[in-house]
């Protein structure tokens, strides 16, 4: 199985947030690397989406879609910096 990029989460995240989270910058809790969420290496499309830091492979965020709920786990990210202009 091959990974995708964080870009591929854009649709699911735009159903939750009014801004484009893939254009946000994350700071990795594991290695401190900061980059766009769209640049994460994305695994596990069937059970949920697992975004790993391209720098250290640690898990930065996870999105699990249940039929009636979405779980967004961000404990691998110490910070998200969200752009407010544009979309």
């Amino acid at each position: 199985m091959n990974p995708l990029d964080g870009n591929a989460m854009a649709g699911d995240l735009r159903e939750l947030f009014t801004v484009d989270v893939t254009a946000a910058r994350y700071t990795c809790a594991g290695c401190g690397h900061a980059e766009a969420v769209g640049a994460l290496v994305l695994w596990g499309q069937d059970m949920g989406r697992v975004g790993r830091c391209p720098h250290c492979e640690d898990v930065v965020l996870r999105v699990v879609n249940a039929p009636d709920r979405v779980f967004l786990d961000l404990h691998g990210s110490v910070r998200l910096e969200l752009p407010l202009a544009g979309s």
Partner: protein, 199 residues
């Protein structure tokens, strides 16, 4: 439900009596991965049980494969809704691995190469319900399917059957593993359709 797409059937979904609720039959063996597939040389492989008091017991590959093994044929059920019937495995029963371990722990955390974890109650590992499998269908277990060795706990959803297993820590209290922390059910009984937290 959205617009019906004229002429769209999707993958063949075979509903068979006797499957857990919401499951379909598959004949292939889908691969799900939450990260890169680790390639573990057998001379670097080990499996370690750590008790709640910090005692450790380890096996290297030669010691592990010298243990009494069992051939089992079981049905497996993935939370992504496929089930596969009559799969054949060879592995070492957790009864064998835990036989000489002194513990009063009620819970365990399964650990894998690559960092994956999943939590399983102790009683679900005992009495012939769980194995560490190293052969599938008579062949060495391929890395994509969890080789050299994976957990096999067929009575729970298959994410509990951790691939690339390398350890088990015994715990007094239940804690979520990788998918459980991200919203999946702490226990995962397919017959009760315990897919997500709160199910």
């Amino acid at each position: 439900m959205g617009i019906i797409s004229r002429g769209f059937g999707g993958r063949r979904r075979e509903s068979v009596p006797g499957l857990p609720p919401g499951q379909y039959l598959t004949h292939d063996f889908p691969v799900l991965s939450a990260g890169p597939t680790p390639r573990i040389p057998l001379d670097r492989w080990s499996f370690t049980i750590a008790t709640e008091t910090g005692e450790k017991k380890s096996w290297n590959w030669a010691e592990f494969t010298a243990l009494e093994s069992a051939d089992v044929t079981v049905d497996i059920h993935c939370v992504t809704k496929w089930s596969k019937l009559g799969t054949t495995w060879r592995g070492v029963s957790l009864d064998t691995l835990l036989a000489d371990v002194e513990t009063a722990a009620d819970y365990t955390m399964v650990h894998s190469f690559g960092g994956y974890t999943t939590n399983v109650p102790m009683e679900d590992l005992l009495d012939g319900k769980a194995w560490i499998a190293y052969k599938f269908d008579g062949e060495d277990l391929e890395p994509e399917h969890g080789g050299p060795a994976r957990m096999l706990i067929p009575h729970l959803y298959f994410w509990k059957s951790a691939k690339w297993v390398n350890g088990l820590s015994l715990m007094n209290d239940d804690e979520p593993g990788f998918w459980e922390a991200a919203g999946y059910h702490m226990y995962g009984d397919p017959w009760l359709e315990q897919r997500y937290q709160g199910d």
